[in-house]
């Protein structure tokens, strides 16, 4: 019964995993795996001398940093806020509204943003009719990374609350009672009961995000790369795509992808052992 799944995983996960050997080959599709020439680490030295690669890496890290700073706290704050809403019908309604954008495709999200913030969008029409110079939001390379982060918040902040809401709901209610009897106000209850109760989940999500440091919204970036140019919008995944599939530098692109995969794996392991050191559970147990 497991056979179909095993065949699919074998064909499209395990064998391609071995297919990464072309990172050490001058791969020519016509010659295939067998007859393409082995070139050792040449692809990697090409990669490291390519300014576009470093640019892509730098952009990726900048976007990750922005997301950690500006995206990561939003679902936590939103969850705490939603939890404070006591009327369950209202709470459920707001929840189902804020979960919705998560299910829309990036094409739709970008179209919506264009309609709101584009040159002829709602915001700029408003500014123009009030005599203010319109803002270039959708195609400004300088603020592109902020735009990406903001789009991410709109799409996924609501969805991200689910896991934190579950964490808050799991906090023992007696802790709140005890804290209140001891004279703790709302603020101190938040700092000394709610936040510590959420900590394991927060640390877990942080580890998962750190492990994914080199992955930043591939579809989202690809859709908008033309608007701001590769200088601001090239990330590792788009670099792999354009070098490999579009330009046919299979070896270099695979080398970049392989490097990314290995570094990501190391990052998860490092982040996890760090969490263990800090006395948290982390993703897996030792």
């Amino acid at each position: 019964m497991v056979a179909p799944a095993v065949v699919v995983l074998l064909l499209f996960t395990y064998i391609p995993l071995l297919g990464n050997v072309i990172a050490f080959m001058d791969y020519v599709p016509f010659l295939g795996f067998r007859d393409s020439e082995w070139v050792g680490l040449d692809n990697f030295s090409t990669l490291f001398s390519d300014g576009a690669f470093w640019n892509a890496l730098w952009n990726t890290l900048q976007i990750t940093a922005l997301q950690l700073l500006l995206f990561f706290p939003v679902p936590i704050a939103l969850a705490v806020f939603l939890h404070s809403v006591l009327r369950s019908s209202v709470k459920r309604f707001v929840q189902s509204v804020v979960y919705l954008p998560h299910f829309l495709s990036w094409v739709i999200i970008v179209a919506l943003f264009q309609q709101m913030f584009g040159g002829a969008g709602v915001l700029n029409r408003f500014l123009i009719t009030h005599g203010v110079t319109p803002l270039d939001i959708m195609s400004n390379p300088d603020t592109f990374k902020l735009l990406l982060t903001f789009q991410g918040v709109w799409k996924d902040a609501g969805w991200g609350t689910i896991i934190f809401l579950a964490a808050i709901a799991a906090i023992d209610i007696h802790q709140y009672e005890a804290a209140t009897i001891d004279g703790a106000g709302a603020t101190r209850r938040f700092w000394h009961v709610t936040l510590p109760g959420m900590r394991p989940i927060i640390v877990l999500m942080l580890i998962l995000r750190l492990g994914d440091s080199l992955t930043v919204g591939f579809e989202q970036v690809l859709l908008q790369r033309d608007a701001v140019g590769p200088g601001a919008a090239e990330v590792l995944d788009t670099y792999v795509y354009f070098n490999g599939v579009v330009d046919g530098s299979w070896g270099t692109a695979t080398a970049a992808g392989l490097l990314k995969g290995i570094v990501s794996l190391v990052l998860v392991l490092v982040a996890n052992s760090l969490a263990h050191k800090l006395g948290e559970e982390g993703v897996y147990q030792r």
């Binding site: 499209f12 809403v85 209202v90 179209a111 919506l112 709602v122 998860v268």
Partner: protein, 297 residues
């Protein structure tokens, strides 16, 4: 019955704070809903309406369904919708069959190679093979420019297998024992016990799969060269984001062509509609099915 469940330790509500909270809730909802209002209104607006507002309409002065009529009059959009529906249906079915079979097979402790196969599936959670090797594999199998390239490579996600497997393991073991003592085959057990009892979990996973197939645009971009094979998301990218709108609609002779923005927004509405239809089911099962899966990690 009062809907407010206020624990005693929370004390009396502060009217100012309650009002502030209400304002914040309304604002949050508006931030999500307002763009949709603009999109739907613009798709229903007339050229005069759009011109008067300069590109968008918040509330149309008069309704016009021309944009929708012209979109469905042309063959390209209609075809891409059918293609998207086809990929979504076949993909979800294929994916579910593989996933449920694997989940059941891996749920029985002590069966042949169970531990090894479980590890085999779980390891794929840790790392993927990367875009290029998968692309070359698809190419070498002759699947480029076929819809199978969009369906088979990503059909099995270890995460989904784990969720359904967890659900199956929650079914009381006595049921399985009783069925096997009565001589039921594994397939019979699957059909008579596993499927009916894990319907909720399978439904949730299926809905998420369907949303994924419907929303996928990079897969078609990567694997389909022929633009006549494009599903809706890719067509929408071309018409709405890249502005190649002219071919989206077949102009009906003798009528005023609907505004370009209306056609673009009508496409967005059409692409959103199936998600909105599935949404009540998603939210209904979400708290039950996904939450347990998500918290377990």
């Amino acid at each position: 019955m009062t809907a407010v469940d206020r624990p005693a330790w929370l004390g009396k509500p502060n009217p100012g704070a309650t009002a502030l909270r209400g304002v914040a809730l309304v604002l949050i909802c508006l931030v999500v809903i307002f763009p949709f209002v603009v999109v739907v209104s613009t798709s229903l607006a007339t050229q005069a309406d759009i011109d008067a507002n300069g590109g968008y309409v918040v509330w149309p002065a008069s309704l016009s369904f021309d944009a929708y009529q012209q979109i469905f009059n042309g063959t390209q959009v209609t075809r891409s919708i059918l293609i998207s529906l086809g990929i979504t249906t076949v993909g979800t079915a294929f994916s579910l069959v593989c996933t449920v079979l694997a989940a059941y097979g891996l749920s029985r402790k002590g069966s042949l190679f169970q531990r090894g196969l479980l590890t085999f599936v779980l390891v794929t959670l840790l790392f993927g093979p990367g875009m290029i090797p998968v692309y070359l594999m698809v190419k070498n199998l002759g699947m480029l420019n076929t819809y199978w390239a969009l369906i088979i490579p990503g059909a099995v996600s270890a995460f989904n297998v784990v969720i359904i497997r967890g659900f199956i393991q929650g079914i009381p073991g006595e049921l399985f024992d009783a069925a096997r003592i009565d001589g039921a085959s594994e397939w019979r057990v699957l059909g008579a016990i596993v499927l009916p009892l894990s319907r909720a979990a399978i439904a949730v996973v299926g809905l998420f799969l369907a949303v994924g197939y419907w929303n996928n645009y990079f897969g078609p971009l990567l694997y389909l060269n022929d633009s006549s094979m494009w599903p809706l998301q890719l067509l929408m990218r071309s018409f709405v984001l890249q502005g190649n709108v002219s071919s989206a609609a077949q102009h009906i002779p003798g009528t005023v062509p609907p505004p370009q923005q209306a056609i673009q927004m009508a496409l967005v509405v059409i692409a959103t509609l199936p998600i909105l239809c599935a949404y009540p089911f998603l939210t209904k099962h979400m708290s039950k099915g996904m939450l347990t899966g998500a918290v377990k990690g």
